[in-house]
């Protein structure tokens, strides 16, 4: 099954790297959508079917924690696994994300293998 992915990060560079690493890792990558913040991500999800969300935490307008909250509060989206991508080493934000229902988290910098490992149990 091809997995349609939404990558949410305010850095276009990180979005491109994630897309490349997903392709290199052997992950069954389907359609890839990109969003620069949580607001744009929610808009994209209204008009596209998505099987997986990879989201940065620190972003303008709507950060990754708020996006995660919105998704988990929605009957339409709560089943979609969300992996948080973060530069923050602080445990507090990571724990908050896990408690809100994040399927996992990856710290920047990351490798393709780390991404693959995080996704291996989800699909």
């Amino acid at each position: 099954m091809a997995v349609d992915v939404l990558i949410v990060d305010d850095s276009a560079a990180i979005r491109k790297i994630l897309q490349r690493m997903l392709g290199q890792s052997g992950f069954p990558l389907g359609k890839v959508l990109e969003a620069g913040d949580g607001v744009e991500a929610l808009e994209k999800m209204k008009s596209h079917s998505v099987n997986l969300v990879l989201s940065d935490i620190n972003m303008p307008n709507m950060d990754g924690i708020q996006l995660l909250s919105e998704l988990k509060a929605s009957a339409d989206y709560r089943h979609v696994p969300v992996i948080m991508i973060t530069t923050e080493g602080g445990e507090a934000k990571v724990m908050e994300a896990v408690q809100l229902g994040a399927a996992g988290y990856v710290r920047k910098p990351f490798t393709a293998d780390q991404i693959k490992e995080k996704l291996s149990g989800l699909f």
Partner: protein, 174 residues
């Protein structure tokens, strides 16, 4: 500046991690030095992030335009020969990841730190200035023929209100 070796080691570790994992590039760090100049080359690109907490300061990543293009080319797997949005974004993110890694390590001995939003400046013959006479620690790196520098200025936050702290490091009841 606090214990310089701790700071330098944390910067080296964070920088090596970013370049190895995200760019597939091995870096070598040179001998660190201190100076009282403000960060920034006279030509090139510089990413700057502020630190705030019990300690405050600034970290900068600086390199030439050609090195920034080379790094971005490796990062995005495409050829970049001039400074544009992609290069500025890549340098911003590299600075962010290096300082984020430094923060994680440094918080074990400096306490909680907040990071500012990264700022990236590109230009010719520019100079930067910070208020005060704090010392900067400069850590030079080489990556093949490429060279770049990480600079940090860190000082105790004298603006924080002083609360009584008990032996366990917790705020004491007043």
């Amino acid at each position: 500046m606090m214990e310089q070796k701790l700071v330098v080691d944390a910067l080296r570790s964070a920088t090596e991690g970013v370049f190895t994992m995200m760019l597939g590039m091995e870096v070598e760090s040179g001998t660190p030095c201190t100076d009282t100049d403000d960060p920034g080359p006279s030509n090139g690109i510089i990413g700057v992030i502020g630190l705030a907490g019990g300690w405050v300061g600034t970290v900068s990543f600086s390199c030439s335009a050609s090195v920034a293009c080379h790094i971005t080319s490796r990062m995005l797997n495409a050829k970049f020969t001039e400074i544009g949005e992609d290069v500025l974004d890549a340098v911003s993110e590299i600075t962010n990841m290096i300082v984020g890694g430094f923060k994680t390590e440094a918080e074990t001995y400096l306490g909680p730190l907040g990071l500012s939003i990264p700022t990236v400046v590109y230009g010719l013959n520019f100079s930067a200035r910070t208020v005060g006479k704090e010392q900067w620690v400069v850590v030079p790196f080489t990556c093949g023929d490429d060279k770049f520098e990480i600079k940090i200025c860190l000082t105790r936050n004298r603006g924080l209100p002083r609360f009584p702290v008990n032996a366990a490091g917790h705020l004491a009841a007043r």
